[in-house]
Symmetry: C2
Subunit: 205 residues, 2 copies
């Protein structure tokens, strides 16, 4: 298969792209040929953007979110509610919650979930630093916003045990029927839980 490429440079570029998740050899080839048709400045901007990000990226020393500064602009914003911390798996979750514009507290990015199968234990995650933040005494509520998977549930349970002696309220995201979903097509577990956890009826609520 290797000698099908007319150029070693091309083969190298294609094989680098094909390492990306969800990108096979054919897609990699299409992307590389697309870039090759751009001018040199565009291609250099592309290549250097990712190299520069990797070299210069910083993580907020409080919440471990990606940041250009030592403390991120969420943690350093005096308008945010510093008594509430939302625990998330990764920075994409921070961005997802921020885009709802419904949350005014701070975050704590774990950097993964406890998953012994993948070799991820509590020591590989930013759990100790979360406990330290809580131990300082300003935090009143910790919200778990983790996936509803085995790994997410395990991580919630582990952290809740570590926090059991601190005077903080623990909460999780509401689970239930998605807004806009038809009941007929909602899975039984979700529907069952949303009957058990039914809420008082409010107009526009």
């Amino acid at each position: 298969m290797n000698n099908q490429y007319p150029s070693l440079l091309l083969e190298k570029a294609v094989s680098e792209f094909a390492k990306l998740p969800g990108v096979g050899n054919k897609t990699a080839m299409r992307l590389v040929l697309h870039l090759l048709n751009q001018d040199t400045a565009t291609v250099e901007a592309f290549g250097n953007a990712i190299i520069q990000l990797k070299r210069e990226v910083k993580y907020c020393r409080v919440c471990h979110n990606i940041s250009d500064t030592d403390v991120c602009n969420i943690c350093s914003n005096p308008k945010r509610d510093a008594t509430t911390v939302c625990v998330v798996q990764n920075i994409r979750d921070v961005m997802a919650i921020e885009s709802t514009q419904q949350y005014q507290g701070l975050y704590h990015v774990l950097g993964g979930l406890i998953s012994p199968m993948d070799g991820m234990g509590p020591k590989n995650l930013q759990i100790d630093s979360l406990i330290e933040r809580v131990a300082q005494g300003d935090i009143k509520e910790v919200i778990f916003a983790l996936n509803t998977t085995m790994e997410g549930d395990t991580t919630c349970f582990y952290i809740s045990r570590r926090l059991k002696d601190y005077p903080v309220k623990l909460s999780v995201l509401a689970r239930g029927v998605s807004v806009g979903d038809e009941l007929e097509y909602t899975d039984e577990v979700t529907l069952g839980r949303s009957i058990i956890n039914r809420m008082p009826y409010k107009v526009n609520g």
Copy 2:
């Protein structure tokens, strides 16, 4: 939307990836975070592979295929049949035909198809250099292996007119029912043409 990114460097890298064809903002984010989880050497290898390709890429001066050398290793291979030239749109087509291992002649990469809607005229393509190759007198057959689209047909027609005074045989790829296809699901145009252009029955042929 822009201020949702926690870091300008991240935003820049994501926007570069999102320029690739078929890659939206969410996929770009996923790819960038994947690379960010790799070590620095891996990320630099990725970024530099594409920059190096763009800077150092060469095109064969005979057939215009991508090449590491002045003349590509197909054109310079004495075992290939230099009397037959297969005209293709781009280097992916060369690779597709090479992977069949059924063709021993040379290629000519046009770099596109005639498409006035996209501003592609004959002058933007490697057509003059094809005529020159034929004019040298060694080529006995030109095979058109272009898409069966309006643009492909127009390009075939244009080149065939330019070559009409040269003693070369012109041919096109056989069109018909794909190997493995069921007749029931073959489109009428293909099925109709393959009845008109029916071939003598041969075992294994």
